[in-house]
Amino acid sequence: MLKASEIKVGDTHSEVLVEDLKRTQIVQYAGASGDYNPLHTDEIFTTKIAGYPTVFAHGMLTMGMTGRMVTNYVGDGTLKKYGVRFTSQVWPGDTLTSVATVTELREEDGESLVDLEIVTTNQDGVAVITGSATAKIAS
């Protein structure tokens, strides 16, 4: 768990989430989450019917991988809120990097909290997820 005395507004934590995303990982996520939308795993449907160049990752896979960066930073079981917008698609072969930036340290209902701004970008520097999170910290 983060300590209020050890962090300040503007601090950042960054991780590479995935290098060269594989279609197999997208299949793994489909199986675990139960979202079998063919857009993510069925190349023929996705190119011939839906009109996309290839299958693409579930937004929730990217949110899940981004959440790993967040919990590695703030600690297990400390999140109060976590929300994102999916701003661009994630394709097989993408390499994603995610950054959390401390935007505020505050007290609410007797708890010490940290607010984070979150951005995950691909190898071209395009944001694929933008969002925020709030976690409990030790005072």
Binding site: S33, G34, D35, M60, L61, G64, Y82, V84
Partner: protein, 167 residues
Amino acid sequence: MAIDKFLVEASHIMMFARSIGDDNPIYYDEDHKSESGSEGIIAPPTFAQSSAQFDPDYFLRPKTGGVGWFGSGKEPTGLKPSGSGGGGGGGAAAGLHAEQHFEYHLPLKAGDVLSATTKPGNAWEKESKRAGKLKFSESVTEYRNQNGDLVITATGVGVQTERPVDS
């Protein structure tokens, strides 16, 4: 969407954590104790999305035998997507997933039994250069545990696009 019983199982958490590339022992080792004081197997922050597994009517899962499934077989598609809403606490079922927000009220642990109810939220439209007219719709899912306590509130926003998104 309504889910009567979402069994939060250790092996499901392990598979989910693997799929997002997370090898944190808090997701598979019941003897692990985190620095934050968390112990026993807990669920990763986005795990509630896999409640789709427990939704009997979830339309992004082929029905037994795959009959009527819109993915490819002999032909590139079995049929047209139905585009009905709901599912997994997300908006994905209404086209593409635009936003997802979670509020955590209590820790989610292996062994918990959740139930979930989903209500529609706001709906709005927007023009975009990359995909034409966008129709957004929100759904709010409340997950309660075996004691009836609220564990997670999930808000999903789905978007129906006029054409495939230019990348």
